[in-house]
Symmetry: C2
Subunit: 345 residues, 2 copies
Amino acid sequence: MPELRKDPIIGRWVIISTERGKRPGDFPSVETVTPGGFCPFDAGNEDKTPPEVFAFREPGTEPNTPGWRVRVVPNKFPALRIEGPLIRRGEGVFDKMSGIGAHEVVIENPDHGSALCDLALPQVEEVVRAFIHRIKDLRKDERLRYILVFKNHGEQAGASLEHSHTQIIATPIVPKRVMEELNGARQHYDLKERCIFCDIVLQEMEDGIRLVTENEACVSLTPFASRFPFETWLLPKWHSSRFEDMTDSQITSVADLLLETLLRLRSALNAPPYNFIIHTGPCQDPELPFYHWHIEIIPKLTKIAGFEWGTGFYINPTLPEEAARYLREVSLDAAQAGGDLCPKH
Amino acid sequence: MPELRKDPIIGRWVIISTERGKRPGDFPSVETVTPGGFCPFDAGNEDKTPPEVFAFREPGTEPNTPGWRVRVVPNKFPALRIEGPLIRRGEGVFDKMSGIGAHEVVIENPDHGSALCDLALPQVEEVVRAFIHRIKDLRKDERLRYILVFKNHGEQAGASLEHSHTQIIATPIVPKRVMEELNGARQHYDLKERCIFCDIVLQEMEDGIRLVTENEACVSLTPFASRFPFETWLLPKWHSSRFEDMTDSQITSVADLLLETLLRLRSALNAPPYNFIIHTGPCQDPELPFYHWHIEIIPKLTKIAGFEWGTGFYINPTLPEEAARYLREVSLDAAQAGGDLCPKH
């Protein structure tokens, strides 16, 4: 059974995933991508994954058979498990709880070779709809406090399978970084009665120097205090703390701008590995006036790592204003034609 | 001029190091290690680094010539610069300040092929003494609030030169993670009038299950809520918030246990890349009753990265108790003989 443990100094929870139990000889990870091998996410291999919990399918096709366009399955090696009671315990100065939660995989398309940014807009829309569908279903379990949707693209960004997919982890705690964002945003709201993210969006749209691209409902930009070169955030222009509360037209706008932003990053940076993380409000919370959901996209361009983990201190060698300019200057036609640039691992 | 920028949501400062100015074509980094090439840190190449600010040398040898055992030089490509005034400015909702600070390199020995854990105890002691000397010198500059001593060992851990070295960065702000530790530790002290780290050391010495090794003055252990497999901390058994306040015999104990811990990690994990970070109190603060300096050692065994950066949420596939057991079971004789296991990049 996985276990959640709390750091007694700074209060950060960590999943100790004992069932993945790695011993010294298991590093580097056995999960390393093996290109060209068997892929459980390909169409036709539906019986090689746990049974699907959601799919967009062609009419008349059966669950766990081909005919799907987007397919969501439980992770075969879950970091958390849905079964069992949520038990909280102390151990001297330490606190722990049982590793209750969910760990799912959104397979974004049946074609092994297509990355998310190779898909047509309606397909990307369905991927976003699949995220929303799963969030709405998982939040019914009141033990779960947060639902984390994130993507590791490319081996260097932590992907263990090359077939394009996104992961969903639902946890009985709110992750530390999200809690910090909530607290910081609440302070700003208490002081000014305005959402800090709305303030940022307005200022960045006026300034323009850190804007990457925008459409009627969304904007993508390189944050003022970017931790990483070419770090890019996508934010809705309307205020909303809950990703899953979008209307149909808002979903289209988000999918459109996510696709365009990923294409610009791929073209400017020669198809980098990257992570994206959807930052949204805690799943049991109502709409919050002070928080604003957004997507953080982080290309994995630099190797420096443990130092940042250990200190919360970042050195970024690229001016965010220059990164934004490079991303603006990308020719979208060329980017769309650049599908073969996308790394397969 | 480098610039410090503050994230307006969670208050984290980031160094934007414009003089390293990386453009899209510069990734992957040009700083990648080139084994076997020219090394500015080798004995005889003293004129290829900025002039030394400190060294342990053989009697009668001149600065910036061979004859040194440990040598400290300014970083040739500093993330922060010591010259100029500390200017603080706002830019709408954003805050920034000039990138004042210091960035130095501690070259741990003149021999290109020796890692820190290949050195004899007296040499490791001199490395620790060099850290202390530089901290005491840098803290005289009252603009500086924090002095960060950290090591990137191996290319995968962010090292850009293979010759064994440690970096020192002095900043006009306290890094976020350190501030969180200070705040968390202060809360515990306010509640219990005890140092949380002292509590942890006592409990771990009684329990024994997460102990790696100890000597009369120090202990190394795998923390209860380890973020990473085989994450190991070294803590003094005596209470002290300031790394630089050690007595001679305490320096010997720390060097001894650091050396032994690194040897155990090298032997158990087949010479992994790793980072270590010395966590000590802010450099202008007096001795603090609630904080306790320590060294965090993080072997770089897993690839997963951006997700953790983005969320503060960690999944550790190895039980800390099992990691400690593996590290305890290492035969020290075999570990010491294993010098050739140490990766040269």
